[in-house]
């Protein structure tokens, strides 16, 4: 039987080629019963041993969710989601709160190894390891279904005062910080999916960078949905005090399953005077098969508040996965001279649907925002840029530059650009540029005449198209992202 299953798997991986992270991990899970109600929320809160204020906040969010309608303005189509048919809590049994990597289930460590995520803290000593391996260390928080299973380099970070831990742990160890900032950027009732997340969020990362500290290494969270019929609702909160700097990376994958899985995350960023937060995402949730079966529904609310003068928040995202992507990482530019940036590559193939973009809300004086969006559609997919630039009355001297480029591969896909521009200040300068192009036959032939295969040619052209965005990613991520783009588009030409 095992041999048969393996053969089937091997055949599958050859025939639909694309998704290489589709394996699942067989591990004993602690699951909440299916369904959503106050009791489930109490159960989640109890499992995490939460203080009363947090349970109250969850229940308040749940009440708000019940009163809200699922939004229908995005250019996406899907059958109604049965919110009662999901597990809202799933945790690997052995690993609740491991103190060190030695306590983490080896099966989990193998999963992350397979994914190429470094959970081992390799001591990097000059001259000891080979020059090839001398990459800068990255601290990783690994979230598996509903819980964080490991966070690396915590001690190194603690020396500079940086807090990097699962948010469930921060609730216990730094309750005041969490209470002060949780929901301060994305309020509990902000939108349907944010309300849902606020009610049932299970884990995620918490980052606090003290005043004047430049975080000594890249921080990274790696999200993995494994369990069947499970929603993942992670919550990330990053606070950069005055003069602080942090670069944070986020990666996501999920097993290949026939049913759709729900992912509704909330990310909140807060930057004070002169602080900088650079938030990069490589999202590669399972996109469904060639016929549009299965895949992750990705409904995410990401928002950053530039509260301080001269603060800066940059969002960079490479979105290749998910059956549906509904995501608008935004910046609220409150502090004078604050800066918001959004760099995005969204790739859709087969039957994927992406409706993604950003919101830049200019409130402070001389605030600046930059939006560069690159949408690539292939197969029968639909790819929409939806972005809002709003300049409030007091935002004298606000500036925005938006550039939206769409690239079409084949003749059955769609690219859509929906910009909303609202200026209530006469001194604002707003620019919007948009282009739509196709990979031309003569470009492909030119590359092939030089010796490139058709797929390499598409990869090269697409990477060239996305260059402005990819160069914003930290180096190692950029290399991964380039490969991912090429893999995602395999077989989409011809």
């Amino acid at each position: 039987m095992v041999a048969v299953a393996e053969t089937l798997e091997a055949v599958q991986s050859v025939t639909d080629g694309g998704y290489k992270w589709g394996f699942s991990t067989d591990i004993e899970m602690d699951m909440a019963p299916k369904g959503l109600n106050e009791d489930i929320i109490r159960l989640i809160s109890a499992r995490k041993n939460e203080p009363q204020w947090l349970l109250d906040w969850r229940l308040k969010s749940y009440a708000a969710w019940l009163k809200t309608e699922e939004p229908d303005w995005a250019k996406i189509n899907h059958p109604p989601i049965d919110y009662q048919d999901l597990h809202y809590y799933a945790a690997p049994k052995k690993t609740a709160g491991p103190k060190s990597l030695d306590e983490v289930d080896p099966e989990l460590l193998r999963t992350y190894e397979k994914l190429g995520i470094p959970l081992r803290e390799r001591a990097i000593l000059a001259g000891v390891e080979g020059a090839e391996d001398e990459r800068p260390p990255i601290a990783v928080d690994a979230v598996f279904d509903s819980v964080s299973v490991a966070t690396t380099f915590r001690e190194t970070l603690a020396k500079s005062g940086v807090i990097f831990c699962p948010i469930s742990e921060a609730v216990q160890t730094h309750p005041d910080l969490v209470r002060q900032y949780l929901g301060s950027v994305v309020p509990a009732g902000d939108n349907y999916f944010a309300a849902l997340n606020s009610a049932v969020f299970t884990d995620g990362s918490f980052v606090y960078i003290p005043k004047g500290v430049r975080c000594p290494m890249e921080l990274s969270t790696y999200f993995r949905i494994n369990a069947r019929n499970t929603g993942q609702f992670e919550r990330t909160l990053i606070i950069a005090e005055a003069g602080a700097y942090v670069s944070y990376l986020e990666g996501c994958t999920a097993p290949q399953r026939d049913e759709n899985q729900l992912h509704a995350a909330v990310v909140e960023l807060v930057a004070f005077d002169d602080a900088q937060i650079k938030y990069s995402t490589v999202q590669n949730w399972y996109p469904g098969d060639a016929d549009g079966k299965g895949g992750i529904y990705n409904f995410v609310t990401k928002r950053g508040a530039c509260r301080g003068a001269r603060s800066k928040i940059s969002w960079t995202q490479v979105e290749t996965g998910s059956a549906i992507t509904w995501k608008y990482p935004s910046c609220i530019l409150l502090g004078d001279d604050s800066v918001g940036e959004f760099y995005s590559v969204a790739v859709t193939t087969n039957h994927q649907q992406a409706d993604t973009g950003t919101k830049m809300i200019h409130i402070g004086r001389n605030t600046t925002s930059t939006i560069v969006s690159k949408g690539i559609s292939a197969g029968k997919s639909n790819n929409t840029y939806r972005g809002l630039v709003r300049v409030m009355p007091k935002a004298d001297g606000a500036r925005n530059h938006t550039q939206c480029d769409s690239l079409l591969i084949g003749d059955q896909c769609g690219a859509h650009t929906v910009p909303y521009i609202e200026s209530r200040n006469p001194t604002a300068k707003l620019e919007h540029e948009a282009t739509t192009s196709k990979i031309a036959d003569d470009q492909l032939f030119y590359c092939r005449q030089r010796g490139l295969s058709e797929e390499d040619a598409v990869g090269l052209i697409v990477n060239g198209f996305c260059k402005e965005v990819l160069k914003e990613l930290p180096m190692e991520f950029a290399v991964e992202a380039q490969k991912l783009l090429a893999i995602s588009l395999e077989g989409s030409v011809g």
Binding site: A440, D441, D442, Q443, F445, Y446, C447, R448, Q449, R450, G451, L452, S453, E454, D456, L460, I461, N463, G464, F465, C466, K467, E468
Partner: protein, 249 residues
């Protein structure tokens, strides 16, 4: 050696090549001249494998391999290079990166070791220097914002790096000033040797003053109507195509 026998081809049901016979032995440079619409570019595209051209008969082999049965990239790996009449722009794609990817793809296909970034840098810089081209040509995006002359020079630079066995130059001289013409010609001449052959497609005699061909062929109405030595090009220049075509008819 390139051998073309009775090659016929059409585009959109229109017959363009009506029976081409041509042999280009290793080490030789042949010029193909002819009036507009005679099928010169079609011949270059059919040989290099562009979509949209339907071969209806005949054969084309290179070193004994059936070219017409190969994918364009396989023809490139076999040593066939086409210098485009209208080089294509690839926005965001760095020229050096493009060339290295292409070179390594060819080397892989031939079972040769890939060349690393440092080795490639040396190779490409040396090629640029030989062709009196500035290094920054390699750093720019492929043909983006290049002048007409720069695009043609870039084709020759690519050729110098890829070191083909057979180069087809499709009106590489059109739109070039005298200086650029000389640079392009020097680039081709530098590759001349016993293992290199070229098919130089041109309207004008002036290119052939710089790249002196072993043979000149006149293509008209989809057929080669006359072949001769370099002096044939001078005759064409003096008397025009019409006279030669009329004489052949």
């Amino acid at each position: 050696m390139l051998e073309i026998k009775n090659l016929t081809a059409k585009i959109d049901d229109k017959d363009i090549l009506k029976g081409i016979n041509l042999v280009v032995p290793d080490g030789e440079v042949h010029a193909i001249m002819g009036p507009n619409g005679s099928g010169k570019s079609t011949l270059s595209y059919v040989l290099s494998g562009r979509d949209g051209y339907e071969v209806t008969g005949g054969s084309a082999t290179f070193d004994g391999q059936d070219l017409l049965d190969m994918e364009p990239e396989a023809r490139a790996a076999a040593g066939l290079f086409l210098a485009f009449q209208y080089p294509v722009e690839l926005p965001g794609v760095n020229n050096a990166n493009f060339l290295r990817t292409a070179l390594n793809a060819q080397r892989r296909a031939r079972g040769e070791a890939e060349i690393d970034a440092v080795g490639f840098l040396k190779l490409s810089r040396a090629a640029a220097k030989r062709l009196s081209m500035p290094d920054d040509m390699l750093k720019r995006n492929v043909n983006v914002g290049f002048s007409g002359g720069e695009k043609k020079r870039n084709e020759v630079l690519q050729m110098a790096v890829l070191q083909p066995k057979l180069a087809i130059l499709d009106e590489t001289d059109s739109g070039l000033d005298i200086d650029a013409l000389k640079i392009v010609s020097d680039g081709v001449n530098a590759l001349r040797g016993p293992n290199f052959s070229a098919l130089v497609i041109t309207h004008y005699q002036r290119l052939l003053d710089h790249i002196v061909p072993d043979r000149v062929h006149v293509l008209a109405g989809g057929r080669i109507i006359r072949s001769g030595g370099p002096e044939l090009a001078h005759l064409l220049e003096a008397e025009g195509y019409a006279a030669v075509v009329a004489e052949a008819a």
